[in-house]
Symmetry: C2
Subunit: 223 residues, 2 copies
DNA sequence: TTCTATTGTTGAACACGTTCAAATCAGATG
DNA sequence: CATCTGATTTGAACGTGTTCAACAATAGAA
């Protein structure tokens, strides 16, 4: 692998990204105009479009970078965490903390979440790669976690937990309570409930329910 | 109540609404421009804004009207339906059928669903009235439905079922399978599972799970 | 060095949703 | 009838994200 040289082009792209994020943080995604971003980055309006195909692509790049930066943080947070509940909480907590200074930007990103056709949606094909990396973490924390996972549930569970995580993050970006204390509570309850449900799902009595849930998951995933 | 006279103003508003919906259906929400809508309605661009504060307000009005029109249809569909599962399916089915010719328009409406601050979101304060009417139906179908509802679950359940319905509708608008056959399957499974879960939730063993679920619901509702 | 092709940069122009001051209309009032 | 008042209608203008033809800089080949 050749040493990744930092070209002038990279610097310009960075200048634009930083200018944009600054403005997004200061005045919000909608209020910050491309003209203002370009001016702050000391380039012409068109230059921004040479590096980013759209305003949304900028916030997409922010998302991609954030996820990269988070990988080692996640690794560290899971260090020593053995119980599934602890791991779940730690994994999601890392993300909330990492995004905390940029909650507004994340909101701009997630507001299109309901539309899988939208490039910014966490369910879009554009964000597929990130989603896969994310899901792999959930697959990993299920291994040797002290909770027996029913065989048929195993392939689907990481995706379901990722979805649960998305729910928590969605809630977090719109949580107006001081210090997002409601989200903290929700995360606690959700993680605990998830583990309880997984445990229960192994009970013979629950077999039909488990099968139904699985069918629903497969239906939704296939769409 | 005085006879609701149809004023010239009403006619113009209607002309604009119809022109807009036609164009939305023909070419989609984004492609249809306000100028084209105004032209089709044979008014100036500004006139559209005299009647509708925004392009989105038009589709909002469509949503409001649709819900009004659906009331008698729902009433009819529930006629004779006694079992909870049947009722659930019928209630949601009515909505899908009613919206079927306008699936694209509904998609434009729901894509902002993840942002409760957005006026068009089914979770926004602007759509509160509609949501309340909707939820009342779910409260109603729970009465004398043959399924014992745990006391503590009773106040929360209509809202939860409404949420479930929203999930099905969200899935439906993005379901690309022929005739939305996947949605049909999903609705079947979801309704069945919902009833099973409600039944199970009454079991003594499930009391802690029920309590946790209830806590989570209350946390999310309060935000 | 000089030519050439690629890469980067510019700012005017476009189409859009939206606003608004002015014009027009309709009905009430004198 | 003439006048006034409020409701309606107009179309130009604004600010936005985005495009693009033209230009500049750079790097590699000759």
């Amino acid at each position: 692998m050749p040493a990744a040289k930092i070209t002038k082009s990279d610097q310009t792209a960075n200048k634009i990204l930083e200018a944009a994020l600054d403005l997004f943080r200061e005045q919000g995604f909608d209020t910050a105009t491309m003209r203002a971003i370009a001016e702050k980055a000391q380039v012409a309006t068109g230059a921004a479009y040479y590096y980013y195909p759209s305003k949304e692509a900028i916030v997409m790049d922010f998302y991609r970078r954030s996820c990269e930066e988070m990988q080692p943080k996640i690794e560290a947070a899971l260090e020593g965490a053995k119980a599934l509940e602890t791991r779940l909480r730690a994994l999601i907590q890392v993300k909330l903390e990492h995004f905390a200074p940029n909650r507004g930007i994340l909101r701009a990103l997630l507001r299109n979440g309901a539309d899988p056709k939208h490039p910014l949606s966490p369910f879009s094909s554009e964000t597929r790669a990130i989603r896969d990396i994310d899901t792999a973490w959930f697959r990993r924390i299920l291994i040797d976690c002290g909770v027996r996972i029913p065989r048929d549930l195993e392939p689907a569970l990481p995706g379901v937990l990722w979805f649960l995580q998305m729910g928590v993050i969605f809630f977090w970006v719109i949580d107006e309570s001081p210090h997002q204390v409601r989200t903290a509570k929700l995360l606690e309850r959700a993680a605990s409930s998830a583990v309880v449900l997984i445990r229960l799902s192994g009970l013979p009595l629950m077999r039909p329910v488990r099968r139904s849930a699985l069918e629903i998951v497969q239906l939704v995933r296939g769409a």
